[in-house]
């Protein structure tokens, strides 16, 4: 029985580690083991509080690993440990290579997009934001509980608004 449970525990750790390593950004690689450990401790705590005996769905394990990782990213950023490191100062959040000039231009457009999105009508803002995050129209419709036609309209009208705003700011895309 003990062997069986130990093996279940090891499998649990492996699953958490897999989830963390699948999405862990390179700059956080040194903290991977810590993140897995924290996720394990959280499961232990949840398990103890709920006196749980049912199995954990792997989707739940992924969520726990994800939460532990985002918390760690926030903690590090809050502590400014990354921002204070000149080597990392210009590093974009999502790694797209290291071209400082492109990064600077991208930052300027990125900030302008944020400002322009803030001026869009709310539903268009939501549609465009989700689209810029990489979601196709069908997924946006599903997430926002819109029909496909409505989602399509909101995305395209919103993108038009966004382009017009950027052009008005001298940043034609």
């Amino acid at each position: 029985m003990l062997q069986q449970n130990e093996s279940a525990f090891e499998e649990l750790r492996r699953q958490l580690a897999r989830s963390v390593s699948r999405i862990c950004p390179g700059w956080l690689a040194a903290s991977r083991d810590d993140i897995v450990q924290v996720a394990l401790l959280r499961l232990v705590q949840i398990c103890g509080q709920a006196e749980r005996s049912e199995p954990y769905p792997s989707s739940y394990l992924r969520k726990v690993a994800y939460s532990a990782m985002i918390d760690e990213m926030r903690r590090l950023r809050r502590a400014r440990e990354v921002a204070l490191d000149p080597e990392h100062e210009d590093r974009p959040a999502l790694d797209t290579g290291s071209n400082p000039e492109r990064n600077r231009a991208g930052r300027e457009i990125g900030r302008a997009i944020e400002v322009c999105l803030g001026g869009l009508r709310r539903e268009r803002r939501m549609a465009v934001t989700l689209h810029l995050l990489g979601h196709p129209v069908g997924e946006i419709a599903k997430l926002a509980a819109w029909n496909l036609k409505r989602a399509e309209n909101l995305v395209y009208r919103g993108l038009d608004d966004l382009r017009a705003c950027l052009t008005a700011r001298g940043l034609a895309p």
């Binding site: 990213m73 959040a93 797209t96 991208g106 995050l133």
Partner: protein
């Protein structure tokens, strides 16, 4: 995808992310939102936030990536704890083993720094609840008062105190003040200079709950 949309997307997703803001949604909420598990009203609020917060956009993308990814190695769909309730304690013991190793290694830490007095040993993921007592000074056994930074007004706290091998020493729930006096009798059997682990969680009036890192306290 048109080229201009591609460049918009690049610019929108590659800005440097700053420190978290006070209104950043909890990771679990971003996860739920990316999975389609929030009400349309709440989703709209979260997406409004994403439109202005690069760090949360990054968190959203990571959630989407993890939700979409299929396991590299086919793993069982579920991990079953033991039929008897020892499972969490086996997991806890294994986790505790790491903590013990951590104590034994000078300069241990994520960044190989010596832990600061009062700094969390492990799991310092939230930052909202921090210990207000020293981890290095010995505390009186007849008046071991655990104190922590308060959460929002109206928060209710739950505290767990355990030994290093995660044997329960004391605990309380429903506390409305950010402190807990550990009953002297529950410390009677501990050896001198024993180290205890403690953790506090807070239930906030808005329904959220936050959990502290695990702290250490030593008793005379």
């Amino acid at each position: 995808m048109s080229k201009d949309l591609e460049s918009l997307r690049d610019a929108f997703l590659t800005m440097p992310a700053g420190p978290p803001r006070v209104d950043c949604p909890q990771p679990a909420e971003i996860w739920e939102a990316a999975q389609g598990g929030l009400s349309p009203g709440r989703l709209a609020q979260v997406v409004d936030h994403l439109a202005a917060c690069m760090a949360c956009r990054e968190a959203w993308r990571l959630a989407s990536d993890l939700q979409e990814s299929s396991p590299e190695v086919r793993a069982p769909d579920v991990i079953a704890p033991a039929a008897n309730p020892w499972w969490p304690w086996a997991a806890a013991a294994a986790a505790a083993a790491v903590l013990v190793v951590a104590f034994a290694l000078p300069g241990w830490g994520t960044f190989s720094r010596r832990p600061r007095p009062g700094a969390p040993l492990r799991g310092s993921m939230t930052g909202e609840l921090q210990s207000l007592i020293s981890e290095t000074d010995l505390q009186p056994r007849n008046h071991l008062l655990l104190r922590w930074s308060p959460a929002d007004r109206g928060a209710r706290y739950r505290v767990h105190v355990t030994t290093r091998d995660l044997t329960e020493v004391a605990g309380a729930a429903g506390l409305d003040a950010p402190e807990f006096l550990v009953p002297e009798k529950s410390l009677a059997s501990l050896p001198p200079k024993a180290a205890l682990l403690w953790q506090v969680s807070a239930s906030l009036p808005d329904g959220r709950s936050i959990t502290s890192p695990t702290f250490v306290v030593r008793v005379r």
